[in-house]
Amino acid sequence: MTKKILIATTLLAVVVGLTLFAGSPFSGTWSSEITFEQGTINPFKSLDSVLDINYSFGSFLSTSKSEFMLFGFIWQGFGITGTLGAFDIQGDVLFGPSTADYIYSQLIVEASIAGIDFGFYFAQLSDKVLGGAADGFAVRLAGSVGAFDIVSIMEIGAQIEDEDDDNFNGITIYHASTGLYKHYVTNPIVVGQGFTGEKLTVSGWSFGCVEDISTTLYMTCQGFDFLRFDLTGVDVGLSWLTFDVELTFQLQTKSIVLTPTLVLGEAACIDVYAAVLTDAQDNTIYGGFASLTGISLYGLGFSYSWDGVTVRDLTVLDTSCYAITTPEYGSAIEEIIEALKNGHEFYPDYWELISIEVVGDGCCGGTYIFLANTYFDKNETALFGWGMTHIEVTIPINSMIFLSSQVEVDTSGLDHFGFGFKVGW
């Protein structure tokens, strides 16, 4: 008992002591959460602890991020961001402390001179990562000529993430034992540094019936890879329907894919989730799939806020293709394929969410948050088909220290409960 009091007192002293750094070049946060579950093996479900330490000097900010979980010290990242003359600089280094391995590093230098954006991206992947070692860099030049935006990316062994192109996703590094991952924009793809690709994109073309026309040419060391034309928001004369068109030429093939989009008006408080259906599984038009088969109303949403209280309701009508994401991912209705692609966690069996969130000022600074989410299960036959209730509370001690608690109850009883804290300085 004395030992527990001693540990608790020491922890409290450390937490309060960290706040004394306020005002110094040091800043940061430390957040931890431990959860317990009922089970025959042992009661610990999870332990997550993240320590962020920042140090500012001149126009630079250096950061250290340490991430722990129940099974050990998983990630240690260091970063630096700042400005040196005309150059914006960002650097990241990642280590795996549990295996004492260097994992990855990247350096990004950007500048804008005479209307031209220059970007230099370098990255290196350790041979401790499956598929490594690899290293390389890419040079990005972007500018405008009249109404046209031109972007040239020369890949010397590395690719840069492009949010508009599924072929260029950056790099995500996984820890195989825990599934935890880190994502970076520069993806080194070769051993040694040689030319691997050139991507030239011209966008900004617009006709009266098309929002934007973009052309992308991609060449690799093997030669021509693809030429693609993207037409966004093609107006077909119907106020409720537009198409996106993707026309791709590869060396021996040509493909065209049309993606229909339903245009809905602004809703006051009821959100309607709907999509145009085609006879293809992914609801696009290509090849032999050329029919619009209907409109799917796959979800409804309601949200209203007053005086710090927000009430939400989400209803998924098509649970085979759509789901509600977990609170960490915004409690939103998302297509399951998209959620899987984006790494968002979701509840596959819950078809309705009723949520109440109360946010207000704490007595001594900071804000308190109370969140209660109740889910209804498509497979349950209990009261109203109730499936699970998730409650979490965050209480500020002052503007820098927060205590939190959560509990989750489902049809089998108490699933888990947990406690946490967050301290900033």
Binding site: I41, L130, L141, Y174, I189
Partner: protein
């Protein structure tokens, strides 16, 4: 004065455009001519990854993941009887959970042998975790090994994936 300013700005704008076009052209030409070096491009194979057992007290977890899976990703996995061999694990405590869209169809763990089948009916997984196996540890250094010859994996296009590697050594993988 205003006239001179406008003229100067106009000249600068034309120069900027020429610089942009020039740089893009030079970049493209340099890039394409650099191809002549014939550099080696690294390729990653489709891989099924068995994570090292993560142990906390008497509780253990093993994650099964994939990376670089072809044909829109892995959508089914079947591990035949004796495809899984365990040591220092209580077989009665084993629980298998599907992750990221995967659903467990069946599993059986008896003695030191195990088998299971799981499927993702929505889409395939090109890379990421697919199964979590939780168990009670009964001795030091619990192990969880897979016999590749008794594992079959299928793609989202309903085709068997025949060419793949099994990885149990590397602690990290990338997608």
């Amino acid at each position: 004065m205003n006239y001179l300013d406008k003229e100067r700005k106009g000249v600068m704008a034309v120069q900027s455009r020429r610089v942009v076009l020039g740089l893009l052209a030079v970049g493209l030409i340099l890039g394409l001519t650099a191809c002549m070096g014939g550099w080696f491009t690294h390729e990653q194979k489709a891989t099924l990854i068995i994570g090292q057992p993560a142990i906390s007290g008497n509780r253990g977890e093993v994650l099964i993941s994939v990376t670089n899976m072809p044909n829109q990703g892995l959508a089914s996995i079947a591990i035949k009887d004796q495809g899984i061999t365990t040591a220092n694990i209580d077989p009665t405590s084993v629980q298998v959970e599907g992750l990221n869209g995967f659903t467990l169809l069946a599993s059986k763990f008896v003695g030191t042998d195990g088998r299971l089948a799981a499927v993702n009916s929505t889409s395939g997984s090109v890379g990421g975790t697919i199964l979590k196996i939780t168990f009670e540890v009964t001795g030091a250094d619990p192990t969880f090994t897979l016999d590749k010859t008794k594992v079959s994996i299928g793609s989202a296009l309903n085709t068997l994936i025949n060419t793949w590697d099994l990885n149990t050594e590397t602690n990290y993988y990338a997608k």
